[in-house]
C-alpha cells in the first residue's frame, strides 16, 4: 500500500535520512523503531510531505507517486498522520479539533457514525467535547490526536510515538485501541516508536532505524527475539 524507496532527507547540512526503503502492506501494522534522533519523525514528515524529500527519493501510495505532493493532497488520498507531540489545536474545542480532522470529508452523512465510533473507543473525549483542546491531559490529547486523524477516514494511519509522555497504564490502553482500529476499521498502520517493547508486541513487521539508516528488518516476533534488538531497544543487559 505504501512503498518508500531510497528516502533521503536533509536539514541544511544535516543528513537525517540516508536512503531508506520501507514497505507497508495493506491492513498491516508496521513499526519503525529507533533511538532519539534516528530519523523516525523525519520519515513520517517526509511521507506526509511536510518536509521535502531529496532527489532520488520515491514514495508510492496505492501505486501513485506522492513524493513532495502538497500535504493536503496526501490527506485527501487517505493517508493521515498523528504527529509527534500530538499537535492538538489548543485554541479549538475537542469537537472543533475533530471537525478539522474531517476537513476534507465530503460524505457528511457518515460523520455522525464516525463520531459515535470514536466516542465508543475513547469515551473520555465525549465528556470533554466542548472543552478547549489545550485543557486536556496528555493522555486525553493523544486520544484526541488519534481520533482527529480517524475523522479523515484514513486508509493508512501514520502514528508518531503515541506513547510519548503518557502514563504506562494508559500506554497499554492506547496500544489496544490502535489494534482495535486496525482490526475493526481495517486501517493500515505505520507506527513509529521508541517504546520497542509495545510496538513489536502489536506489529506484524518491524524496521530498526539508526542515524538515518535501516539497520535491521523482519517480522516483529523475530525482531523481539533478536539479541541485538533486545540489547539496544528492549533494555536487556
Amino acid at each position: 500500500m505504501l512503498r518508500v524507496e531510497n528516502l533521503t532527507v536533509n536539514y541544511g547540512a544535516i543528513n537525517a535520512l540516508k536512503g531508506i526503503t520501507i514497505n507497508v502492506p495493506e491492513k498491516s501494522i508496521i513499526t519503525l523503531i529507533g533511538a532519539n534522533g534516528a530519523g523516525k519523525t523525519t520519515t513520517l514528515r517526509a511521507i506526509s510531505s511536510v518536509v521535502k524529500s531529496a532527489g532520488g527519493s520515491r514514495i508510492y501510495y496505492e501505486d501513485k507517486d506522492i513524493t513532495n505532493l502538497p500535504p493536503h493532497k496526501i490527506v485527501e488520498m487517505g493517508l493521515c498522520q498523528v504527529p509527534e507531540g500530538r499537535l492538538i489545536f489548543a485554541n479549538l474545542t475537542v469537537k472543533e479539533n475533530l471537525d478539522m480532522g474531517a476537513y476534507l470529508r465530503k460524505d457528511k452523512q457518515n460523520l455522525k457514525n464516525d463520531l459515535d465510533f470514536i466516542f465508543n473507543i475513547f469515551p473520555r473525549l465525549k465528556e470533554r467535547i466542548k472543552q478547549p483542546g489545550g485543557t486536556l491531559s496528555g493522555g486525553e490529547q493523544q486520544m484526541l490526536a488519534i481520533s482527529r486523524a480517524l475523522m479523515s477516514k484514513p486508509k493508512l494511519l501514520l502514528l508518531d510515538e503515541p506513547s510519548l509522555g503518557i502514563a504506562p497504564i494508559l500506554v497499554r490502553t492506547i496500544f489496544e485501541k490502535i489494534v482495535e482500529i486496525n482490526k475493526s476499521l481495517g486501517t493500515t498502520i505505520l507506527l513509529v516508536e521508541q517504546n520497542a517493547h509495545f510496538a513489536l508486541s502489536v506489529a506484524n513487521f518491524g524496521y530498526v532505524l539508526e542515524t538515518g539508516n535501516i539497520i535491521l528488518e523482519g517480522p516483529a516476533k523475530e525482531l523481539e527475539a533478536n539479541p541485538e534488538v533486545r540489547k539496544a531497544y528492549l533494555g536487556e543487559a
Partner: protein
C-alpha cells in the same frame, strides 16, 4: 454632559472604522505572523472605489444623495474590489516570500504600500476629492439633548454588523475554524488536510473587504479623500490591533474603539493638535507596560 455623550458617540463611530481596519491587521498577523503595512492603503482604495462607484451611479459629488439600498450596493462593491486587491497583493507580493525571513516580507509590505499610494496619486490625482454624499447626514436629537448625526450612527451600526458577521464566520464556519487552526499551528493544520494557501487567501479576502468597508464608512463621516488618506488611519488601526493584542480578533475591535474614543476626546477637550500623536503615545505605553496587549496571550515560542 450632552457634549460628553456627543463626543463619546463620535468616538465610537470613528473607533468602529479603526476597528474594521485593525481586524485585517490582526487576522493576517494571526495567520502569517507579519504586519501587512499595505493594509491602510487597501482602506484608501476602498474609499476611492466608493468615490468612483458613486460617479458611475451618477450621483453628484456635491449634495445629491441616494437611497440606503444604493449606498449598500456601493459598500458591497468596494468590499469586493478590495478583496480582489488583497488577494492579488498576497499572491504577487507575499506568497513568493512565504519561506523568506520576516524582515524581507515586512520590507515588501512597505513597498506595496508605497506602490499603492503613488499609483493612487498618478491615477486618482493627488488633490483631495469630495466623497459622494451617499446618505444625507440628518441630526438626530436623543433624550438627553445630545445631537448626533445620522451618518455616524449608520457607520457605527454597519461596522457592528460587519464585526458580528466576522465573528460568525470565524467561530461557526468550517473555514473560520480552519483559520483558527492554521493560526495556532500551520503544520498540524496541513497534516489534517487543510490547504494552508487557501486559508491564507481567504484571510486576505476577509481582511481586505473589511478595510474596503471602512473606506466607505470613513467617506461617509469625513467626505474628503486622497491617495495618502490611508497612512494615518492605517497606523492608528495598527496601534489598535497591538493594543488589543495582535492576532486577537476581539482585541482588535476593542483596541479600535478605545483609540477612536481617546482620539475624539483629546481633540474635543484638549487640543486637535495632539489628535494624531495620541496613537503613537499609546503604542509606546503598550510596548512598555503590556506588550501582549489587552486581550493577547503570551505567545509560546515554538521549538
Amino acid at each position: 454632559m450632552t457634549e460628553f455623550i456627543q463626543q463619546l458617540f463620535n468616538g465610537l463611530s470613528l473607533g468602529s472604522i479603526y476597528a474594521l481596519i485593525a481586524l485585517g491587521y490582526t487576522m493576517i498577523y494571526g495567520i502569517l505572523r507579519f504586519i501587512n503595512f499595505a493594509h491602510g492603503d487597501v482602506f484608501m482604495i476602498g474609499a476611492f472605489s466608493g468615490y468612483y462607484l458613486g460617479i458611475v451611479f451618477a450621483f453628484s459629488t456635491s449634495g445629491g444623495f441616494t437611497s440606503l439600498a444604493l449606498a449598500f450596493l456601493i459598500l458591497i462593491g468596494a468590499m469586493a474590489i478590495c478583496s480582489v486587491l488583497g488577494l492579488v497583493i498576497e499572491k504577487l507580493a507575499y506568497k513568493p516570500l512565504r519561506k523568506s525571513p520576516k524582515l524581507t516580507i515586512l520590507i515588501t509590505a512597505i513597498g506595496v504600500s508605497l506602490f499603492l499610494e503613488y499609483t493612487g496619486q498618478l491615477v486618482f490625482g493627488a488633490d483631495p476629492k469630495s466623497f459622494p454624499t451617499l446618505l444625507e447626514n440628518k441630526p438626530i436629537v436623543n433624550l438627553s439633548g445630545a445631537v448626533i448625526g445620522s451618518n455616524p450612527l449608520v457607520v457605527l451600526i454597519t461596522a457592528a454588523i460587519l464585526m458580528l458577521v466576522l465573528r460568525m464566520i470565524v467561530m461557526k464556519t468550517k473555514i473560520g475554524t480552519a483559520m483558527r487552526a492554521v493560526s495556532f499551528n500551520p503544520t498540524a493544520a496541513s497534516l489534517m488536510g487543510i490547504n494552508i494557501n487557501a486559508v491564507i487567501s481567504f484571510t486576505f479576502i476577509i481582511g481586505s473587504s473589511l478595510a474596503g468597508a471602512a473606506g466607505i464608512l470613513y467617506g461617509l463621516n469625513y467626505p474628503s479623500i486622497d491617495p495618502l488618506m490611508g497612512i494615518l488611519p492605517g497606523i492608528k488601526a495598527f496601534v489598535a490591533a497591538v493594543l488589543g493584542g495582535i492576532g486577537n480578533i476581539p482585541g482588535a475591535a476593542l483596541g479600535g474603539m478605545i483609540i477612536g474614543i481617546i482620539e475624539t476626546f483629546v481633540t474635543g477637550y484638549i487640543s486637535p493638535t495632539f489628535r494624531d500623536a495620541i496613537a503613537f503615545g499609546i503604542l509606546i505605553l503598550i510596548l512598555l507596560f503590556k506588550p501582549t496587549g489587552l486581550l493577547g496571550k503570551k505567545e509560546v515560542e515554538k521549538v
